[in-house]
Amino acid sequence: MIRVNHLFKKYGRKQVIEDVSIQIEKGKITSFIGPNGAGKSTLLSMISRLIAKDAGEITIDDQDLTKSKNRDLAKKISILKQSNFTTLRLTVRELVSFGRFPYSQGKLTETDWKHVDEAIRYLNLEDIQHRYLDQLSGGQQQRAYIAMVVAQDTEYILLDEPLNNLDMKHAVQIMKILRRLVDDLGKTVVIVIHDINFASCYSDHIVALKDGKVVREGAPHEMIHSSVLKEIYNMDFNVERFNNHRICLYYT
């Protein structure tokens, strides 16, 4: 379990995270939602130690984040940011093999390669595993990066807007893969997501942030209500039930 206690963060004079306390339970998909500038990505980056916190405490399985060795953390928690762009001439397979660095420090063993193969198979990348990244579409690249995180084989997987720039088909594909990671492999997934319908259909727990604070959190059936969403986004929503899912209509 990841525990966040009284977390604060300032950028210059602007308080982007203010007294946030949440718990992220194991074996679930937790989604962070909220308007732009609410502090979702900042919170995710602090949990994954990419940026330093100003005050507060973050523990992963009761271990303080700042007191753990980075190499050990890399076997426990992985993070994928929203823009992954590299000028390196890398094939998909080579990129995925980077995921094994925390274990082998660059000298991959047979076990490492087995994990790489599995990750490639898991993300359906076998056909394109020897292609270079710059020859691939956005959706394929995103899948390659997720495969790298899968090869890293961490208990906690954090993704910052994994659906960014993806079309509907690929977005659904990625969300299904995340669901399988949780249901089949018992991973814990935390995502920052803008499309609340994806959050509604695929997550177990939703945390809503606004102006650096947690406004509401709960299961999708508690969160996806027009009154709750209005409080978060300051706009009107129609929530309809469809096949046991709550779908928001807000386009008109």
């Binding site: 990419l50 980075n70 890399a74 993070i79 980077f98 660095f101």
Partner: protein, 314 residues
Amino acid sequence: MTPKAKTILLTAVSAVVVTIYLFLDLGGNWDYALPRRIAKVLAMILTGGAIALSTTVFQTITNNRILTPSIMGLDSLYLLIQTVVIFMVGSTTLTMMNNHIHFLMTVGIMILFSGVLYKVMFRGGRNVYFLLLIGIIFGTLFQSLSSFMQILIDPNEFQIVQDKMFASFNNINTDLLWIAGALILAVTLYFLRFAKYLDVLSLGRDQAVNLGVEYDYVVKQFLIIIAVLVSISTALVGPITFLGLLVVNVTYEFMKTYRHRYLLTGSLLISVITLVGGQLIVEKVFTFTTTLSVIINFVGGVYFIYLLLKGSRT
């Protein structure tokens, strides 16, 4: 061709170039000419290696293929030191001055400067680009100070300063070569402890942290290594960091890999080929009427215009 085969090819080519340089027109003066030529070749391998290594690492930690360590202002600082010495005590004292003292003083000041710069920069936990920005500002300041003093001094003295502005292998002091060699070797050994992180660092900061690299610590070590290597090679032969830009880019084009194991050896070999080959041209074609860095800057400039044209077409 695999990167391994390319490395072997480069090794063969550099061996051939070095052999030609050592034995071409040697005549009967083996005892006199050969040790001098060996010293020059050694100096070229040392500086070439130091520049290639520092530029490759620098580009990896900044994730930028057109930067060289000279952006941190070390080249300008070198020229400033030389100008100040001539300005204060005159060129006669400089030429009379003990070479060791002069060399160690120059290296010392340059390393000290980088140390202070890093110390101030890293206290606030700022990023590498901020450091570079400060480096550029200091570099410009040093340059302005140098040109100010160069305007004031006697034109004959200025001639001496001007000599120092271009790298040259024609007057290598053998004693200094040993000191520089030992220092570079020590730094390289220290570097090898961190070499495994380079591939991961080239994915960028976020990925490196994600994959368990103690990013700030490792980058700081690399920056120190770069500062020491650049200081030593610059103090030994003069400002020559443009060579790094040329060599590292050629290496990327030629090796077509992201693995630093091959990139580092490749850039070392290519820089030896460039330096020794260039020196061969300076000595045999131009009969010492020009210096090596002029040739390297010329060839490098042409190559970059080619890269730009090629890049704009695709």
